[in-house]
Amino acid sequence: MQAVTDNVFRALADPTRRAIFEHLSRDGEQTVHALTDRAGVSQPAVSKHLGVLKRARLVRCRHAGRETHYSAHPQALAPLVDWMSVYGAFWRDRFDQLENLLKRMDP
């Protein structure tokens, strides 16, 4: 599970990959060619990014003729999207700030 989570984090740490993933999430299935037109990087680079996303299970692909079609698989975010841990860190930080404020306030 940890390895899967690490892959998801790593995959989304890159802004180009994030853009590709968001693009697929928003607009649905796309070919590598279509993605390349949008990504602003070369097709081999896009293919490499898609490989990383695929290993993290964030995208799926299917072959049709000579084209490979990619689609987003946002459910793969589930191990990462742990609202408890994200918001837990947020609130613990805010609790610290609250205590700092209380120290500075008049009794």
Binding site: Q75, V81, G88, A89, R94, L98, E99, L101
Partner: protein
Amino acid sequence: MTDTATTRTLVIEREMPHPPEKIWRALIEGPLIAEWLMTNDFRPVVGHRFSFRATPVGNWNGVIESEVLVVEPHARLVYSWGALGLESAVTWTLTPTEGGTHVRMEQSGFPSEEGANYKGAKYGWQKFMGNMERVVGGLD
């Protein structure tokens, strides 16, 4: 939110060496809230709609839409917390102790993995990513 099969609850508790009256002020006075949480137009009046405002990031405008639900001076404060298409409620409970106050924060209404928010909400995912960056960035 009452559907426990599709929501989760986050609880953070801490003992603070200050009286409940003082902590209450930090929870309900706008300028004080801004010092430890976020800028806001909060007023301790049930039914008051207000916003918390963070720095906008990515696809997220940084606004948390809220409504005051419960105000029990020095004891309990509840407001809704709407962000990123997800609705939750934040409940503050202050309990006097010998050395100060037991402060409890409960945020409930998070979607679980089985929840609808995990399945549909493509728009929500995008906004979530921006929020996650902000939260993680704020941990430094």
